[in-house]
Symmetry: C2
Subunit: 241 residues, 2 copies
């Protein structure tokens, strides 16, 4: 009996009702909800309560509100971008709040990422390979900040997962990769380690080019092991400090 929630608030209940209407298809994308005043009357609550319920739904991108005449609350079309942004927020918080070891997080991330190698090798396009090559160039700049290096790293891996040519897969993988970024940002990348990583990135691109699944997979495995090593040395440095 962890969560009694003795008296769930009216605004929460109303939000749940409307959410169910949307998720279960009784309200379709683009549909306009009744006005706040109408909802208030229909459910026997005040307008303030209705508004709190609507704000809850808006926070989950389930609805969007427009002002002015013929404005109101509309069932939102959830785009991949919005969905991914939400997933990243949630996952980032989850990772940050649960004392998760760097190793476990890394293991999960690379396990997930490797799930796209076979499709990626099969379907990779020249455009995406070019994107990856450009990111490698960016990463090679000697005066690049650690943050910029990480950002380019994320962009590289996003291009990699996009190679699989499956939007749904890209959505899930990009979310999990991005959620790792704050953890990755703890690492200070020396020139030595950057060179190592860039070499592996090159191996990945070259593997995709030759549609050589095994070599891409091997490069990712090596990258995982290397990243974990880096993470552990950071942790050791902190512990002795």
């Amino acid at each position: 009996m962890k969560n009694q929630t003795s008296t769930p608030s009216l605004s929460a209940t109303l939000a749940d009702t409307i959410r169910a209407d949307i998720v279960e298809g009784r309200l379709l994308v683009g549909d306009r909800l009744p006005s706040e005043a109408e909802l208030a009357e229909q459910h026997g609550v005040s307008r303030a309560t209705v508004r709190e319920a609507l704000k809850r739904l808006a926070a989950q991108s389930l609805i969007r509100t427009e002002r002015g005449a013929f404005g109101g609350a509309f069932v939102n079309h959830l785009s991949y971008e919005e969905a991914r942004a939400q997933q990243v927020t949630t996952s980032t918080l989850l990772l940050g709040m649960n004392a998760i070891s760097f190793q476990v997080a890394c293991e999960a991330r690379y396990a997930l990422e490797r799930s796209c190698t076979s499709l990626a090798a099969e379907r990779r396009t020249d455009a995406l390979l070019d994107t990856m090559r450009k990111e490698i160039e960016t990463q090679s700049a000697p005066d690049l900040s650690d943050e910029a290096f990480c950002a380019s790293d994320v962009a590289f891996h996003r291009a990699l997962v996009d190679c699989a040519g499956n939007e749904v897969l890209s959505y899930h993988l990009a979310g999990s990769v991005e959620a790792m970024q704050p953890l990755m940002n703890m690492i200070t990348f020396t020139a030595r380690s950057r060179a190592e990583i860039i070499d592996l990135h090159r191996a990945i691109v070259s593997g995709l080019e030759r549609r050589d699944v095994a070599s891409v997979d091997r490069a990712l495995a090596t990258l995982e092991a290397y990243t974990i090593t880096l993470g552990q040395s950071v942790l050791k440095a902190r512990a002795t400090r």
Copy 2:
């Protein structure tokens, strides 16, 4: 000029401010936010506006509110369960709203799920194998409804991903598997197809038992192909109707 967002509402801005405080670590888990009245004064807005902002954050499970003296809004500890529930809501909506072909969704789901096979074979426990066996028994009941069959299927696959012994991986995979459930529910499972699926489930368990990665992987691949076939025949049946 699709989204000007000319005047973001005060409650949205305030929510963003507090969200940043949480995500960027200025507010830690368990911290208590100032009372609504104090927040209203601090930010020069009314209490109603503050409340709308707080409801937005509560909808994302970033905070939780308690009533009574010494109650208030507290930075929430995001559990795996809450995080997964949110991810499922988002992903389910994304799949439902974007005219995604069953095949693409299925391909993504199984690609992701197969990312845990190697770890699962290595780390599977007897307890989890037992869970999987029990679900297989449930699925074998001849008078089982389609919904119950699907639910047991989800439970089976959740146990499978849990075998990998990595919480983070389980969180991501369970989310993507569950999000597929509404799509799976469209399928009517004949006795013939249930038998086929159960056989493959048995193959998975037996493969894990023997720590035979390749055979688990093969069973999942077959399951993917078979599920896609089933999905397509449903679509054809609908088209000719």
